[in-house]
Amino acid sequence: MLADLLEYDFLRQTFLTGLLIGIIAPLLGTFIVVRRLSLIADALSHVTLAGIAFGLFLEKKFAFMLLPPIYGGLLFSVMGSIFIEKLRSVYKAYQELAIPIILSGGVGLSVIFIALADGFNTELMNFLFGSASAVSKTDFITILIITIFVLVIITLFYKELFTLSFDEEHAKVSGIHSKQIHLLFIILTALVIAASIQIVGVLLVSSLMTLPVAASMRIAKGFKQMMLLAIVFGELAVMIGLISGYYLNIPPGGTIVVVAIIILLMTISYKRLQVTFKGAKA
């Protein structure tokens, strides 16, 4: 792949895009996991699919690309995230209800738009499982802008996000605008999911946000350390997954997730060994 990387533009774009989402997906994933919102990523990825299908449907209907799939996905994902927050405030005692509502709504709309766009094709397949060749120049630039935006916002609001994630009650008492910051965070999540789908696909995007975090959680001593480790694990999974997927001719979503799971298993057994070793010493 390395030689091909220099030769083919699209491969280079895919690789660079992979590097970008390897940063932002685990970065937001860290907050998502500690706030117990892991399933929100799944709900939003299915809404993103509806947006992509809507773009493809418009393309079919008007015979030219009115709404590039990535923008359709972004639009629906962000709308979905705002809707989730609304639902969570409607069902205060059962906030997790928002997730199946949004998830099934997303799948329902996707089915309708896919049928109207005359069914399943390779392009759609790429969005479901990820693709090493589907990243266009527009996609790359859009994802680059999203990455910069996410990094700036997270840096600016890091201390508020951490305070809120650790102890929401304490944050509220000390005067932090928890509602507004939470909404901002959910919108960022929607952006990152829509961006990541190009590479990992709808069905596997949430795993790139949660698996590296699950692994780093086992060994990190602090929150920042966990975040940095999660990004390292995320990058490893994306790089190894993209390269092996390319050579084995498998959609990268699959290989990336399998690598992430291997890393997770390794950290779990590392911790086990550490505990046994300590126990033996004592």
């Binding site: 102890d167 009650e169 000390s174 005067g175 001593k221």
Partner: protein, 250 residues
């Protein structure tokens, strides 16, 4: 004398059931107030009203000579809750990070922690005797150590008043004694006023400058000496209310 908290005729009910009735209560600067009372007597509700989390049905509340509606300097008040309610043990954060979160709102939006803030964080960790654990994961500490960290989090913003809601629940006897010594020092040496909600009547009378007993209404409000001299009859009046509620036959 400077009044830090002043409650006048505060009443609060939940789903038409009265929780607090006509509470008049005052805390002066430098005081160490123990708030006692049976479970369900409204202690936590009263704290939530003082912190602006709940709105009373009637009455008025003044914080640092300002009516609650106008009060903005929440940094002057530090709060330590019952740990189990708001803390997830598996959360991967170091002691330093947890304590730093106590400065978040004081530092303000769009600003970062600078050297001075970092020193304040380390100072607060040292003040509660947790320096050896600064970069340890909070989940690995004992209950008593965790509670010290939460005190440091409340102290780091240099509050004038510290409110603690049953902070010693689940902590062994020896550590509870150390904990009270720490509060005593904070009160005497650093001049921080304290409002402590507790069941721990014995220890409380040793350290507090004032005791308040709450069971829907304020039954007693005075110094610890007077409290110790309360007759058995008066004591049963205080707690008896609660006993009646739980013992009705089905």
């Amino acid at each position: 004398m400077n009044s830090i908290i002043s409650l006048e005729n505060i009443s609060y009910s939940y789903e038409k059931k009265p929780i607090l009735q006509q509470i008049n209560f005052e805390i002066h600067k430098g005081a160490f107030v123990g708030l006692l009372g049976p479970n369900g007597g409204g202690k936590t509700t009263l704290i939530k009203i003082i912190l602006g989390i709940l709105n009373p049905d009637s009455g008025s509340l003044t914080l640092f000579d300002q009516p609650l509606e106008e009060f903005k300097s929440w940094n002057k008040i530090g709060f330590v809750s019952q740990k189990s309610n708001s803390f997830n043990k598996g959360f991967p954060a170091s002691v330093y990070e947890v304590v730093s979160s106590g400065l978040t709102s004081k530092v303000g939006y769009f600003k970062f922690f600078n050297q001075e803030h970092k020193e304040k964080i380390l100072y607060a960790i040292n003040a509660v005797g947790m320096s050896d654990y600064t970069y340890e994961n909070i989940g690995n500490l004992s209950g008593g150590q965790q509670q010290r960290v939460f005190i440091a989090r409340a102290l780091v913003s240099e509050p004038e008043l510290l409110i603690l809601d049953e902070p010693t629940v689940g902590i062994d006897y020896e550590n509870v004694q150390r904990f009270y010594e720490l509060l005593h020092d904070l009160n005497k040496q650093n001049g921080i006023s304290l409002l402590l909600v507790t069941h721990d009547t014995g220890t409380m009378t040793k350290y507090a400058t004032k005791i308040a007993c709450l069971n829907k209404t304020l039954h007693f409000h005075g110094n610890p000496k007077e409290f110790e001299n309360l007759s058995e009859k008066e004591m049963s009046k205080l707690y008896g209310h609660d006993v009646n509620i739980v013992s009705h036959n089905h």
